[in-house]
């Protein structure tokens, strides 16, 4: 991807801060209070999307705050100085004709609204009231705690989530809370307005946030609105990411297996997890990881041929989650129950070969890269999704990383991938989990072979 620079008209309103690299039609400005603003000009449909992302989430949570970034995100939609209760808040979203939501992940909390382009100014004012002037009432929190806990219980009703949570407790050990956005029941159910204020004061500051304005908008006007509305948002004295450092995750000390019984699991699922690269220490590794995952998704790959083509599994994926603080590498398998033992043995056989010179061909590497080029086209198709894509990368990596992502993928070599595989997967400790119902557990007895 070529580098593009802002037009003179837009550049005139920019601060003197160093410009990050950005794709065509993406414009960046940093306000004096440290708030970064990106405007993405896209006239495909007459809509505007606004999003604020905050560098907050599970990674900032010790045990006493586990799940509270998420509860905070819910409280964003409750009450603020302009809309003092949720009924009025919701009424305003309806007046704006808005599609809206918020999410809390491991390394990002984001809030977004999509509405008619003519509602941009009103929408920005609405966002400003919610993010800067929330009201936390005990009675509102009493009602919202079971809502958030209810979201948790929905997860716990799903075998895939049960397997994920048990695996991740073992992968991250004492720092599990920093990888678990949904949190802890007791912490959620005893949360106080005071704890909300602690989160707000620590992380909800302009120099820890990114505002994206996207869609059928005029960049210069959008920057002017942003500056007028958010320009007096008081910054923190110090960068929260420096002031509140995240402790280092300890490597998995030894390979660990478990089998969890669940009456809900009508078919078994297997998950293997390793600790992978992160943006801070091995950005090349993060990109090689994605290319490797893409290769293994090809029908011709040894992985797909051994597991899917042979009918051992209904699904078999290898994935990596790009992160600033140690990204997980996951293998997720849904074996055909009657062939579970053969399937598991084949998975381990394949993993042992990941680092071999001939595990994938040059043609497959080329094919994966061709596929990724097309993936880039598809990812840019939906204007209202562009803001969330950008904020994810801003939180987990950097704007430069986002811009250079696809060109960098094109430069990944076979050696880069082998380095990634041998450094993080082959011969490295991992956590292996299986969820299965009691009847199948008794019938197939996976405990005989699903062990270290």
């Amino acid at each position: 991807m070529k580098r593009f620079f802002l037009s003179l008209a837009v550049a005139a309103v920019l601060s003197s801060a160093a410009q990050p690299r950005l794709p065509k039609d993406y414009y960046w400005q940093k306000l004096a209070n440290g708030l970064q603003v990106v405007v993405i000009e896209n006239h495909k449909v007459p809509l505007a999307t606004i999003e604020i992302a905050v560098k907050n989430g599970a990674y900032t949570e010790g045990p006493e705050y586990s799940g509270l970034s998420h509860l905070f995100e819910h409280m964003f939609f409750k009450a603020n100085k302009d809309y003092p209760d949720q009924e009025k808040f919701l009424k305003r979203t309806q007046e704006l004709g808005a599609i809206w939501n918020g999410t809390t992940g491991t390394e990002r909390v984001n809030y977004f609204f999509t509405f008619d382009r003519d509602s941009l100014l009103g929408g920005l004012k609405f966002m400003n009231a919610a993010i800067r002037y929330p009201i936390y009432r005990e009675e509102d929190m009493q009602k919202e705690r079971p809502v958030v806990d209810g979201e948790f219980q929905r997860g716990e009703s799903d075998p895939g989530f049960q397997l994920w949570i048990e695996s991740n407790k073992k992968v991250w050990g004492d720092l599990f809370t920093r990888k678990n956005p949904i949190g802890d029941h007791d912490i959620i159910n005893t949360a106080t307005p005071e704890k909300m204020m602690v989160i707000k004061d620590k992380y909800y500051v302009p120099n820890n946030s990114l505002l994206v304005i996207c869609g059928d908008v005029n960049p210069q006007q959008a920057f002017t609105y942003a500056k007028n509305i958010f320009g007096d948002w008081k910054p923190a004295d110090a960068d929260p990411q420096v002031k509140y450092p995240v402790p280092d995750f300890q490597p998995i000390s030894k390979t660990d297996y478990f089998i969890k019984e669940s009456s809900i699991a009508q078919t078994p699922m297997i998950m293997l997890t390793w600790q992978g690269p992160d943006f801070r220490s091995d950005s090349v590794g993060t990109i090689a990881a994605d290319v490797f995952s893409k290769i293994l998704s090809l029908n011709s790959s040894k992985w797909q041929q051994a597991l899917i083509d042979k009918g051992l599994a209904t699904s078999a994926s290898v994935s990596y989650q790009t992160s600033k603080y140690v990204g997980p590498i996951e293998i997720n398998i849904m074996p055909v129950p009657e062939k579970m033992k053969e399937c598991y043995q084949e998975v381990m056989n394949q993993v042992s070969q990941f680092g071999n010179d001939d595990y994938f061909t040059d043609a497959e590497l080329t094919k994966a890269k061709e596929g990724l080029k097309r993936q880039q086209i598809r990812q840019s198709e939906k204007p209202s999704s562009l803001a969330s894509q950008l904020t994810f990368w801003w939180c987990a990596t950097s704007l430069d990383y986002f811009t250079d992502y696809f060109p960098a993928m094109n430069k990944v070599t076979k050696q880069d991938i082998q380095n990634y595989v041998t450094k993080y997967i082959v011969g490295k400790p991992y956590v292996a989990g299986m969820i299965i119902n009691a009847q199948m557990n008794k019938q197939y007895n996976p405990g005989e072979y699903f062990k270290n």
Binding site: K143, G150, Q266, I377, E381
Partner: protein, 442 residues
């Protein structure tokens, strides 16, 4: 934060053609082809086979989905399965079959510059599927395992139960994904024969969203449809669901919370009541969110909506630890809406929100293709995908309230979870149960 239940909610879908070139249709060999220029680099195509669950008896449910899966998973006469899939991987293109309640689809998604490479594969899948025996055995096993996986998912499991209980004896009680018992019995030959009988010009229409020239499309689709037999005339049957009384069926399940769904009536998509119902559906959801979640903290995921397939219906859905209070709040809310109606202000705002939905659905070729196909299927007129704003304009608050009062009545309830926590009578009794006094609902 805000729960979105799209996995089983046939949302009202509309499009807005923001591109310079206008959508058009043409008839080729008796097959309607709807073309929507997109102004981007992506091509999305769907061949829609009408009928869905109306096409087979209950003991064969699953056969159409298996056949549609076989088109791309069991090779073609020219390419075995691996060759076929490898060719698609070369250009990261997708050709995939699916089956639903009212129709089946063979879809294509690729980058425009790859269309010439992908189109022959699409045609081969449709016209000359190989139905290779080894691959067929594999996809049967996968279909069975996927059914088990679906039953593991609490929402999917609840949805299946609701359909079975509410639509007992009707077409909608059948599942396009079938049952394990059915799939186990299906043979290669009968699935192959079934597909042969299914693919007729009388049953199909096509939608293309992308910038392919009219001349090129005419040439390609003429060549394709010439090889498809005409078949007997076919019209999708419409049915109504109107529960005569409230009912409640519970299934104990060790979920971490309780899953509840209630089914009631809704108007037909091709009736005058459709647009008032579309507005009522979304406003019903907004009010349910406010009462169940905001005011009472009863659930993360309350939902209420109407679906407008061949058998339309209304839904109330929730996951909650307190099912008795939920049903009191939900039923009181229905009574309140029936008594007070929907405020004019809410109706006006909802029209604005629909305008946002309309453009939002227009952002990707895949969603636009779905929207256009859905309008052709359910309304019998794909143009409706582009005229939502105008069609909603004349709807009055009184129209919206009337349609809600007419259709949202008795509910068929299903429940999965801790059956000791629920009082079935509160769901089935004619009188709306009062909301517990210590926890005021309104």
């Amino acid at each position: 934060m805000k729960n979105i239940i799209i996995c089983f909610c046939l949302l009202m879908v509309f499009a807005a053609n923001a591109q310079d070139k206008k959508a058009y249709d043409m008839t080729i060999n008796g097959v309607k082809v709807i073309v929507v220029p997109s102004g981007n680099e992506i091509v999305q195509m769907a061949l829609v086979i009408k009928g869905g669950v109306q096409n087979y008896p209950a003991n064969k449910a699953g056969i159409e989905r298996l056949a549609m899966t076989a088109l791309t998973e069991c090779g073609t006469l020219k390419d075995d399965k691996n060759n076929f899939k490898d060719k698609l991987d070369e250009v990261d293109a997708k050709v995939y079959g699916s089956a639903g309640k009212d129709a089946s689809y063979l879809q294509l998604n690729c980058i425009k510059s790859d269309f010439e490479k992908v189109w022959p594969l699409y045609v081969d899948a449709l016209l000359t599927p190989r139905f290779d025996a080894k691959e067929f055995a594999r996809i049967k096993e996968e279909a069975i395992n996927s059914l088990r996986s679906m039953e593991s998912n609490p929402d999917a499991s609840l949805q299946r139960m609701a359909m079975q209980v509410a639509f007992k004896g009707m077409d909608y009680a059948k599942f396009s994904s079938g049952t394990i018992e059915n799939i186990q019995k299906l043979t290669l030959q009968e699935t192959k024969d079934y597909y042969k009988s299914l693919l007729t010009r009388s049953r199909i229409f096509m939608v293309l969203v992308g910038d392919i020239s009219k001349e090129d499309l005419q040439k390609k689709i003429t060549a394709l449809t010439t090889k498809i037999p005409q078949g007997k005339p076919f019209a999708l049957k419409r049915a109504s669901y109107v529960p005569q009384t409230n009912s409640f069926v519970a299934k104990p399940k060790e979920n971490a919370t309780n899953y509840i769904m209630g089914i009631s009536a809704a108007p037909q998509a091709n009736s005058k009541e459709y647009y008032p119902a579309a507005l009522a559906s979304e406003m019903f959801y907004n009010k349910m969110f406010l009462e169940v979640r905001t005011n009472n903290g009863l659930s993360y995921a309350p939902a209420a909506y109407m679906t407008f397939g061949a058998t339309p219906y209304s839904v109330m859905y929730v996951t909650t630890k307190d099912p008795d209070k939920y049903v009191a709040v939900a039923r009181n809310l229905v009574d309140k809406i029936k008594k007070d109606g929907f405020p004019a202000d809410d109706v006006k705002n909802m029209k604005n929100t629909y305008a946002t939905y309309q453009y939002y659905d227009n952002e990707t070729n895949a969603s636009l293709c779905y929207v256009v196909a859905n309008n052709e299927l359910s309304q019998g007129d794909w143009h409706k995908a582009f005229t939502l704003k105008e069609d909603l304009q004349p709807v009055t608050p009184s129209d919206v309230s009337k349609v809600f009062n007419k259709y949202v009545g008795n509910f068929t309830w299903v429940y999965q979870g801790d059956t000791t926590k629920v009082t079935p009578k509160l769901f089935t009794q004619k009188e709306t149960p009062p909301v517990p006094k210590d926890k005021k609902a309104f």
